[in-house]
Amino acid sequence: MNESIIAPQRSAEEEARYCVRCGLCLSVCPTYRESLTETDSPRARVALVRALKEGLLETPTDEYSSAFFRCLLCGACTFICPSGVAVDRILEMTRGELAGQGLLPQALSDLDDRITEYRNISAEKNEGRLIWADNLPTPPTGLGKKRAEVAYFVGCVSSFFPRSYKVPQALVQILDRAGVDYTLLGGAEWCCGYPMFINGEIERARELIRHNVETVRAMGVKKVVTTCPSCFHFWKHSYPVALGIDDLGVEVQHATEFLADLLEAGDLELHEIRENVTYHDPCDLGRKGGVIEAPRRVLAQIPGLRLVEMDENRDSSHCCGGGGNLESFAPEVSKAVSRNRIRQAAEVGAGTLVSACQQCERTLANAARAERLRIRVKDITEVVLEAMEE
């Protein structure tokens, strides 16, 4: 986990100078492992930054730019680098420079424009953020609450993409049964800003950051809980830096952390789920966000559930293919990465793959279908809700 480009310690070129080109990052890079072509490797991306600095390349081109956007920003390279090179920071900073030079790929610059206009990634009216709450058996208690202990920050994907509605639907039902005092922000929730940040447009993200923080503060919120790992990672690790403060004044937790505490307190009754389950660590939650044990603590509370780990787990998890906005830019690479991950789940004989991210759930479920693998893919909130029901 490292500080964001908002307050860089070393420039991209300086950071790149410490790469000894050992190539270890190739062994964990999902895009290299898929294409087996050096151009798709972290080592080459670092070499390109150096080539530009040292004059081997004259000016950045669209092709140069594409090398940096054909990347999931999963951070596996940074985690494994024995030379301590912050490859992810090099990539983020370079994306920022490219965006500044007008070399942001069109699909991604369209995405950022959409966010600026609609305050969400979907180009739908932001007031529609709570549509998923309409067809619940009872309306969530957090609906329209002006003040609460906890704010559930739903995130754009779960708010606007019907196939992910089940994630917030499950979480609010759990919160309601546990009697948690929470609020849903509705139209006052704006995109967290992470997509702009990873597109290199941090300045455009700052307005969103400020708005979101002011909103929850005004409601007397003590804790922001997210189900989306990217919202979580960005809120927790980049928001304070972006605002130039040490303390946001609110605690930020991922739903798995919140649920782990809730379930371990023992107030909720959970029923048996007898199944081999594997857990997929989302990059932004685990390796980058630092939340690795909480989801496992949640699963351990469910009687009968047997956790079988994939070879690449925890800090060494393999991206689901949904990271880094790669889907918007190079969908075929993204799909191949998803396929490689779901095969790992099949190898360990899991009946269900559980993740804690609406993005991972979607990409991996699609991959399971495409590969005709008999693996169910679920979000952890769904599994907890299932265990709570008769």
Partner: protein, 460 residues
Amino acid sequence: MNSAVIEQLEQAIGANKVLSSPIDLIAYSFDGTFEQHLPDVVVLPETNEQVAAVVRIASQYDTPVVPRGMSSGLAGGSIPVRGGIVLSLTHMNRILEIDEENMMATVQAGIITANLQAEVEKLGLFYPPDPASVKQSTIGGNVACNAGGPRCLKYGVTGNYVMGLTVVLADGRIVRTGGKAIKYVTGFNMNQFFVGSEGALGIITEVILRLICKPPHARTALVHFPTLEDAGHTVHSVLTRGLVPAAMELLDETAIECIEEAMQMGLPLDVEALLVIESDGADEESVQREIDAIADICLETGASRVDVARNEEERAELWRARRSVSPSLAHKAPNKLGEDITVPRNSIPEAVRRIKSISAKYGLPIVVFGHAGDGNLHPNILFDKRDPEQWEKVEQIVGEIFQVALALGGTLSGEHGIGTFKLPYMREALGPASINIQWRVKQALDPQNILNPGKVLPEP
């Protein structure tokens, strides 16, 4: 480069297998060192026939062909120093057969060594050679450099496992050498002829490898030595008493510091050296007895402490640390030059002493680590290449380190190969007669000098 070459390559193997954009050329311009040179074109063949087609086009246009796997080499061997065609074998990465009864695997050259190991281990088989780059190097590259690794003390180097090869020659012919017959004296030993040839005699595209049964038990000890001298002596004390550990790895104090900085695993910072010693075998009790006996010897010969890893996790962590030494040196300086000398085993303490005095003389740190059990040391010079004064010193230091190796009866390289880095020292290391006959072999196989030119052998 003549654009006709690229067109012909595209016709021969498909346009999507031929890369020539500036971005791709940069990506294929370096190896695991700081040197760099752009190729004119990169090809990604998938079959023996495609490799042969590329070589025939190279021959037709008298253009260099530089074969490579994952390019993690440490001697400049896969850098296209004269431009031309870089031929990447990474797309030829299939296991063609695992023959469980004969205990052999036939693989394409581009398979990652760690992936092969994982596959054969699922069947209880074992491919022992374990270069530090096991996750980022290919079998083809390992054969072409005769890669070693810690376990080679007991199990031998890559070349000891090569039973047969498929090689594309400079004229595009495809030749098969050796086979699955264990005893094979029909003609010259052609396998060993290509082992360590660094792509200069032919392009290795398939390999038949001998496998052994996986030793189910291993115990690994981390041994602390207040003096480096005692660590050196301990190595032959263990070996001369008839014990053959799987590995005996030496780390000097700077290496320890670098690993500690990178991994924070609680290594001692008040010792001059650590030995990582592993014992393995089929029988748990005898493995335990062996590691106990080794521990006793270490304590008799100057070790201050012996810690045996308590479980597989601790053991894996020790090896991860050992493999990280070389890249972790970046924590000390932006550039490093890693040498690969070997000396007769009993000369290790003397070699280390001389290297340390060279370091003091020039005022640049030299980290020493390596495979103490077989006398193979990796002195790494740490420096900043942007400082011309330091760079000049590095070149002098390299020369002096080689002098140490040769004076003690050793040689330039144990497992990295010669590449371009050690080329200037070859005449002295081998003498004129040896260089001459090796050059004649090269000419017989590659009269146009198109296969990885400018590597391994000084040209007359």
